[in-house]
Structure formats: C-alpha cells, structure tokens
C-alpha cells in the first residue's frame, strides 16, 4: 500500500516537474525542476530495491552534470530567449502530431511482456546488497560492454580537451571545457564502480 502510494506520488511529480521544466520562462528555474525530477527518479529506484542506482543518480546527475548545466547557464547569461522558426508551420498541426505520437506510445504499452526471471531474485539482491550484486554482474558477465562504454567516455573526454585547447583564449573554449569536466566526472564515477 505504502509503496503504491509512493510510486504514484513519484510518478506524478516526475510528470509535473518534467512539464514545468520545459514550460517555465527562467532557465535556472527549469534546471531546478529537472533537479526535482532527478530526485523523484531516485525515489523510484528505491522502490525497486536499487539503492546504489538511486545514490549514483543523485551524485552523478544532480551533483555533477546538472551543476555543470547551471555553470553554462550562468556563464552564457541568456538575456533574451532564442527564437527559432517553427519546424511545423501551424501550432495546431504540431499539437495533433504530438497527440498522435502519444496515442501511438500508449497503444504499444500492452505489447510489453515481462521478461524471463534472472538469477538475481529480490531476496538474493537483498542478501548480497545491491552494490555488490551490480558490481559482480558488471565485472563478471558484462565486462566488455562496460569497458567499451568507458572507452567511449574517454574518447569524449579527450575530444573535449582537444576542442578546448584549439580555441584557447576564445569564448568558445569555455563550453568545451565544461563538457570535458562533465565527461571526466562521469568517467570518475565509472571508476568508482570499480570496487
């Protein structure tokens, strides 16, 4: 009962803060709404017994990446909004397309079926603690994909550094540097899973 209520609360808050994040006028307020969204996503992970993911969600997304977004917002200091020409000529046409897409998404929900049960039951995870279970899976069965993901992040990091260095002294350098820091933060976190 409690878990269901908690889930409904989290789901509603995620939808609400997601909507606010794209509709508020002040970009800093939008970032704050995304912060609220991340917190409720961490809450959802907790209901799924994935406490390590919940903590990492907050440390990496809220603590590092979103802070860098704030940094970029502050540095760029948008005085007036960007106005782009609309992709779809009429607003109503756009709304109809969006509604159609939403309907399509809802219609596909019944197709999803539960997958086969794996080795890790809820009890097994509880006994081994989620952190250990995740680490064992990641480093025993999924080592290669994990290393590839790490390599891709490393490439992004080096790319960011190269871009920032080429534009040294110019204004463009700042964004690249921030990106590089974001990547290195993400990479550091991957290292953290190394235990």
């Amino acid at each position: 009962m409690f878990f269901q209520l908690f889930f409904i609360y989290c789901a509603l808050m995620i939808v609400a803060s997601g909507l606010l994040a794209i509709s508020l006028r002040n970009p800093v307020h939008c970032v704050l709404m995304v912060l609220v969204l991340f917190f409720h996503m961490a809450g959802l992970y907790l209901t799924l017994n994935a406490e390590f993911l919940a903590a990492v969600q907050i440390i990496v997304y809220a603590g590092a990446i979103l802070v860098l977004y704030l940094f970029v917002l502050f540095l760029v200091n948008l005085r007036d909004e960007l106005h782009l020409t609309a992709f779809v000529p009429s607003a109503w046409l756009g709304r109809i397309i969006a509604a159609g897409l939403a309907l399509g998404l809802v219609a596909t929900i019944p197709v999803f079926t539960l997958g086969e049960k794996g080795v890790w039951t809820v009890e097994a995870i509880r006994q081994a603690t989620h952190t250990k279970a995740l680490g064992q899976e990641l480093y025993a069965n999924y080592l290669l994909p994990f290393e590839i993901a790490g390599l891709i992040l490393l490439v992004a990091l080096i790319g960011g550094l190269v871009l920032a260095r080429r534009n040294q002294g110019e204004r463009v350098g700042a964004a690249g540097e921030c990106e590089a820091t974001a990547c290195s933060a993400a990479h550091a976190d991957h290292q953290e899973v190394l235990r």
Binding site: I58, F74, T131
Partner: protein
Amino acid sequence: MEILLLIVWIVILFTVVMLHVAYATYFERKIIGHMQVRLGPMRVGWHGLLQPIADGVKSFFKEDIIPENADRPTFLAAPIICLVAMMSSLAVLPFAKGWVLADIDIGLLFVFAMSSLASYGVVLAGWSSNSKYSFLGGMRSMAQVISYEISMGLSLVGVMLLAGSLNLSAIVEAQGDRFLGMYLLPQCLGFFVFFISMLAETNRVPFDLPEAETELVSGYCTEYSGMRYAIFFMAEYIGMMVMASIGTLCFLGGWHGPFPVPFFPPLWFVLKVYLFMFIFIWIRATLPRYRYDQLMDLGWKMLIPLALANIVLTACLKAILT
C-alpha cells in the same frame, strides 16, 4: 508506535546536534582568540559560555531583508536546501554500536549525495541574490565543490575496498577495536587526500574562497540577514561535523577506543570528532588563503591522481594478500 519512537529519536538528535553546532562556534571563537593572544567571548555568562545562545536569540529577532531585485522563491529556498541536505546526512551516521537512525547499505554514498545537494543551496543563494559578490561566491563554491567531491569520493574508495561495504557501521566493525586496525595506517594516502578535500568541501580556510572577506564581502551570503543567514551558518557547521564524523568512522575506527565506556558508548566518537573540529579551527588560525588557480591545480593535478593511485594500490594489495 515505531514511527512515534523514530520521531522522538529524530527530535533528540536534532536538539543535540543544534547544541553542538552552537557551542562549536563558541569553541572556534575561544580557540582562535587564544591562538591570537586574545580572550575571545568573555561578556555573556562565565567566560562567555552563554554567548552562542545570545547570538541565536539575536539572529532570530533580526529583520529578514529580501533584496528588491532578488529572485524571491529561490532566495527564500536556498538556505533551507542547504540546511535540509546537511541535516539529512546526520541520519546515517552511527554514533555508537546501534546508535543510528537509518542503518542503510549505501550510507557513505548517501552522505556524498547530500553534500552535493547542499552545494545547490550555496549556488542558488549566490544567483538569486542578484549581487555581484554573491554571484561570484556562488560560482566559486560550485566549481570548488564539484572538483573536490571527485577527489573525496575517490579517496574513500580505498576504505570501501578494505571494508567490503558501504554501510558505515560495517566499515567501523571491519576496523575492529585494536589500534592497528584503524584504516588510518593502511589508507594513509587516502586519509591525506580525504583530509584536504574535506577542508575544501566545507569551504574552510585555506579553501574559503567562496566567502573570502577581503574580496567578496561575505560571498554567497552577502545579501542574507537575520535567521536566514544563521541557517547558512548552521549548515556550514553541521557540514563540518558530518565531514569530521565521516573521517572518524572511515579512518579512526569510529566509536572504538582504548577501553569501552560503560554509560555513554559514543564518548570516543565524540572525542575524535572534536579532534577533527580542533584541527579545522587550528588550520583556520594558522594558514593563509589559497589563490583560485592554485586551488584548482591542487584538486585536479594532485589529489585526484593521488586518490586514483591509492585505489589501484589498495586493490592490488588486497588481491595479492587475500
């Protein structure tokens, strides 16, 4: 019934920590006073013992000024975000065997998550005040906290590796009650990195650039007054205590001491935390402030590589020895 008991525990913890915070300020002013051959607070009560209470009452009754061009909701929320984040990490700290509100498996990660959340309070305070000093203070604090959070997290990975757990009680138990069992010795490199990052993370001297008086008036809290300013102050001191507790739990063997204390098991824990607090204050009274680029160089070029080396070394040694 269980919930009621939990609420009582929370209230007790809150009161005790608030008293400690109040007297930590007294402790700090007295120690710095004596180190600079002054007396420190002397007027209110015997040797100024009631000074923190007088300060609390004063800040409570002061006018709460909100600047006209401030971003009102964010300005009001920022100190509360700071305090809530800091206070919630108190819930996972074990003060003695079984003396913990929430004995969760990811205790250490939870503390990191909360301390990174607290930096939002500082950043938002700086931005929403709409003043250049506050803004610069907020920016500095943000850059500093992200850089040093990485080195701090990495420095504790060695401890996690040795203990094989993220639960703070389990980390203390893994160290045992012998003097040589403390992780201070096998993790001396980790402790070194942790200690410096801890100073930077709590914005203390020599890393107090976010509120450098000589250049930024009072940094991110320049525009705050009355109770809201006091809340920032409280959050800062609770942050110091939380970091000191993490240091105690992870490196100094937590509540274990040379002999068990019969009626008050957390005695050793409290003494060790106050040792850390004393060192915090001692450093404040002795060292000058770092320059901004020096701070960044130290974080990214010294501490993070050292912490990474420590992880590799610890992992290899553990793999060889077991």
